[in-house]
Symmetry: C2
Subunit: 209 residues, 2 copies
């Protein structure tokens, strides 16, 4: 396997955590988004959509997108199960992963990419440039507040997002909550279930990778 | 099982097609988004995020999000396989599903929801209102053009998006391409591989459900 990572970005961190939880240690190449390496011809030949992470499988298939990489690794390396043990759990894992991406990941990205001077013309990841839309930055922050509420409500009923054990859904939401610091947002005071959940995951060795 | 559907919206259509391809026929309730039934207390008690589709499983778990519903059904009713047979295929199915959602579904929704007078204050699905951002409608249309290019490039090499057989990724992209008519966009002339793929899927009985 060959893993294309970027140590500073949240999406590849999700794959990195998943790989670490599986106990795997693939050959890794770091692509510097800060230096724009993902937009260079060498990397575009690997992923023309210019996103990270990318995993080249043991059979040579190039997988982009966190969900694709996770599904492959879960099938090829089933232990420990990170995408559900029963049919209901498998449903809940992808459900909560999708909720975290849509309600958390998207608005955080919108808030950052439409406000940061360093991301001028980079409102959307990928090979094409799109101008910033300042209203989108404001809207993003409002939506992230709702995301914290969604997490808190769920985590008052369950120690982990999708099941009674740690899964891909927790990795996804944890990395996104942690990344919200870039838009100066954090778990609100009083969201104690969310805070406990976050601190527990932050203590896992995979979170430091 | 109990399936909450909406006959006019693209997201529940994706689940409806998946269910039909599995040969299942669950009890179904149609929720009228046109009448705002998804925002009524009765439905919010089922899905507080006010989105469709929803599937209540045989064990009574409430699943929202297309990916969650598909993962459950694939595990509970494995035949025919719609999410990949090998580890590499499982990766490719979720990879292409994610690409279709991000590069197709999101921009189509942005173009529609930020321009249609009927969707004033409904720029984002869910219980909260967000005002339209006209720039986002323009940007959405530009991105949908790129989506058609991504599909064409892939389908020149492969009869289906993720594998050499029909999968969830094809359902996802097919429904989204078909729905692009609401923003008056269609497969461009000359995208012949995409057109052939689309017409083949449109002929499947599940596409008429």
């Amino acid at each position: 396997m060959l893993f294309y990572d970027c140590s500073t970005a949240p999406s590849p961190r999700r794959a990195r955590m998943f790989i670490a939880e599986k106990g795997l240690d693939p050959e890794t190449r770091d692509i510097s988004i800060a230096e724009g390496q993902q937009l260079q011809p060498e990397f575009l030949a690997i992923n023309p959509r210019a996103t990270l992470p990318v995993l080249v499988t043991e059979d040579g298939t190039t997988l982009t997108e966190n969900l694709g990489i996770a599904a492959y690794l879960e099938a090829r390396h089933p232990e420990p199960p990170l995408m559900g043990r029963t049919a209901d759990e498998k449903g809940l894992v992808l459900m909560w992963t999708a909720i975290a991406e849509q309600q958390g990941g998207l608005p955080i990205a919108e808030a950052l990419r439409n406000s940061s001077p360093r991301m001028k013309s980079r409102a959307i990841p990928g090979p094409q440039n799109y101008e910033q839309i300042p209203e989108l930055a404001e809207r993003g922050k409002a939506r992230v507040a709702t995301f914290f509420d969604i997490l808190e409500e769920r985590l008052r009923d369950s120690p982990f997002l999708a099941a009674n054990h740690f899964t891909l859904a927790d990795i996804t939401a944890f990395v996104l909550v942690d990344f919200a610091r870039v838009i100066r947002m954090n778990i609100p005071d009083g969201h104690s279930a969310c805070r406990t959940w976050f601190d527990n995951i932050a203590a896992r060795p995979s979170a430091a990778r």
